[in-house]
């Protein structure tokens, strides 16, 4: 079978599996729709959480970012895993004990205030839509590359699939499809990594292969060779960063705190039977995430080395086919600036901006003609970071079925995250806004219908955003983490650990953290992007890391305001004491 049929087969089979699960797990009550009846086994919930958490960005982009950033890419590795420690130790078990359906519901009750709940809903909806737009775009891109349909059609197919299982099965449907999607995505990620590690070092475990000695007879280890090659070509050494220490610190902290404050991740821990299960389940989630996250640095390093080896100082005719197919898609561009007919991979941008092509004529070597203004340095090759994971099996010359598998894995990663996000959005609307705020008298059946309707509308909005992406999708992802870190995370944390924290303090803190972080990011990203350099940053912290400062602002404001306003009522003190102990949580319900 050729590459194309294999891809159709793998993607088709995985979709059939997801739809089958959706039909099997239809739900009939809000309890099942919101929290899967609280009967999910902790290990399965861990797997579902891992799929929920690892998005198209983790699957496609992260290894590419690490490949190009080297040590600086560590902020994502530590930031997106360390957050689970905070989640397991500081949030998940107590929120599970609290025993309700949503994050805004906790904030509303703990701070005895509709206003607090509405602020939380606002944060949640903004964070989740930002995120989901990127997922739908990811689905569209993968479809267009591997199934040869246009990006918009790809987005529509993705919307249809998510609609089926999210609207029918709610949290229950999503949970079990996410388990299946995890299996598909982790298999698709690790298989090519095993092959490549084996080929390059003779050690099939990528985590060890990254430190192992190369089997090319040079006697150097992977990282030594990479450091040497990169420095020779004028790049920074792979194992040493270019970012300042304080910025690396702040970005890592913002990503950790943001991870722990993301509503679609927190809500997954509402589905396990007991508070103590929430602790172990977070551990399992991190095991499943770590499998991919410790493989990614190896994938990144191997990819960087492979692509330099196969392209640097080669003529266009000598380059492998994958170079030409990605060049056709516009994600690779070569400008032969010194006219020697050979590709020079060097540090710096080869020309200004992403490549624009003139397709009326080919260059002297047969390459697509790049029309951008060339830069003064010796670099000639533009390569889009996002293609690293997708192109890696081709770069390493792996069989067709591995490439097809990667396509299915990537779709699994994007769809599982999109579904989880859509669910928290629809729950916020049907439960926090309708049931708890505007129409408390609706029956369970009406609420369930509203939840399904809201999920449907959310999917349509997400699809629209995927087809017409706001030009700044990539920028606003930093936004989502920063805002989650500066608003929801401290509010929940103080709600559990600081009994004297009151309504006024929490609301003032959330708003202060939110506005501080949003203003800083909007200023440097949208209003005055030309000033976005280290010299102008507060304490040298980039907009990606400012959520960490926002968290501190939130806490400082909350404590100050709480000092000068009335203590919370006695019932709230009892509520806080009750959620601190595991005993007495609502029982499970099996299905």
């Amino acid at each position: 079978m050729d590459q194309q049929s294999l891809t159709y087969l793998f993607v088709g089979l995985s979709f059939a599996l997801y739809i089958g699960i959706a039909i099997w797990s239809r739900v009939g009550s809000t309890r099942e729709f919101y929290v899967a009846g609280r009967g999910v086994h902790p290990v399965l919930n861990g797997m579902a959480t891992a799929a929920d958490w690892m998005s198209a960005a983790s699957f496609i982009s992260m290894a590419g970012i690490i490949a190009f950033a080297g040590y600086d890419g560590s902020v994502y590795l530590m930031g997106w895993t360390g957050g689970f420690v905070l989640l397991a130790l500081l949030l998940a078990p107590y929120l599970r004990k609290f025993g309700k359906f949503t994050v805004p519901e906790f904030i509303g009750e703990r701070y005895y205030s509709d206003a607090a709940r509405l602020v939380a809903v606002l944060c949640l909806v903004f964070i989740s839509f930002t995120y989901v737009a990127g997922q739908m775009r990811g689905v569209g891109i993968v479809f267009s590359r591997f199934l040869e349909v246009d990006i918009d059609t790809g987005v529509l197919i993705g919307m249809g699939i998510v609609f089926l299982y999210a609207v029918m099965g709610g949290m229950k449907g999503i949970t079990y499809t996410q388990v299946a999607q995890y299996c598909v995505l982790i298999f698709a990620y690790t298989v090519p990594a095993l092959f490549i590690s084996m080929m390059m070092t003779g050690n099939p475990i990528p985590q060890l292969g990254l430190g192992a000695t190369l089997s090319d007879g040079s006697g150097l280890s992977v990282l030594e060779k990479l450091d040497g090659t990169l420095v020779d070509l004028g790049f920074a050494a792979y194992t040493v960063g270019a970012k300042s220490t304080i910025d690396v610190f702040a970005i890592t902290a913002a990503l950790m705190l943001g991870t722990a404050g993301l509503p679609h991740v927190i809500v997954r821990f509402f589905t396990v039977p007991k508070a103590s299960d929430a602790r172990t389940s977070a551990g399992w989630a991190l095991v499943f995430i770590a499998l991919l996250y410790t493989t990614a640095p190896a994938v990144g390093a191997f990819a960087r080395m492979n692509y330099i080896d196969s392209l640097n100082e080669k003529t266009y005719a000598e380059t492998p086919d994958w170079m030409k197919s990605w060049e056709t898609l516009g994600l690779i561009g070569w400008a032969d600036k010194n006219e020697d007919g050979r590709i020079q991979v060097r540090a710096g941008a080869p020309f200004e901006g992403a490549p624009a092509f003139d397709d009326t004529a080919r260059g002297p070597s047969g390459e697509r003609t790049v029309t951008n203004t060339p830069t003064a340095n010796g670099a000639e090759l533009y390569i889009d970071r996002d293609i690293m994971v997708l192109a890696n099996p081709e770069i390493a010359g792996l069989p067709d079925w591995v490439v097809a598998l990667v396509a299915a894995g990537c779709l699994a990663a994007a769809l599982s995250t999109a579904a989880g996000l859509l669910l928290v959005i629809s729950t916020a609307v049907s439960h926090d806004l309708l049931k708890r705020t505007w129409m408390p008298d609706i029956t369970d059946y009406q609420e369930l219908r509203a939840a399904r309707l809201a999920a449907g509308v959310a999917i349509i909005v997400a699809g629209y955003l995927g087809i017409n992406p706001p030009g700044f999708v990539a920028e606003v992802v930093a936004f989502a983490f920063g805002l989650a870190a500066a608003s929801l995370f401290p509010a929940i944390l103080m709600g559990i650990f600081v009994k004297s924290m009151n309504r006024e303090g929490a609301i003032a803190g959330m708003l202060a953290g939110l506005f501080f972080t949003a203003a800083y990011i909007v200023w440097f990203k949208f209003i005055a992007p030309e000033t976005n350099t280290a010299a102008n940053w507060l304490f040298g912290i980039s907009p990606e890391g400012i959520g960490f400062v926002g968290t501190l602002v939130n806490v400082a404001v909350a404590f100050t305001v709480a000092r000068f306003t009335a203590q919370p009522p006695a019932e709230v003190g009892e509520l806080v004491e009750a959620i601190r102990v595991p005993s007495g949580a609502g029982g499970a319900h099996h299905h």
Binding site: L77, V85, F249, T252, M256, T280, V581, S583
Partner: protein, 86 residues
Amino acid sequence: MAAQNAGNGAYWREHLRLLGALLVIWFAVSFGAGILFAEQLNEFHLFGFKLGFWFAQQGSIFVFVVLIFVYAALMRQLDRKHGVED
């Protein structure tokens, strides 16, 4: 009954001490070994890795996983000791 005021009594104090100890380790392996002292640790080698780089890209993640399971196990003991298990 122990569970009644456990949310602010001896159970909670012991729990906070445990959390503090685990969070110190959490901070030390990531922000400490992976970031603040990465340069100094890079002088040492482990399985072909510079040590600081290894902590930043793999080691801290392994420790995180262990930390959560240790927490879950110790908390199970603590819950039982105070009669507040679920």
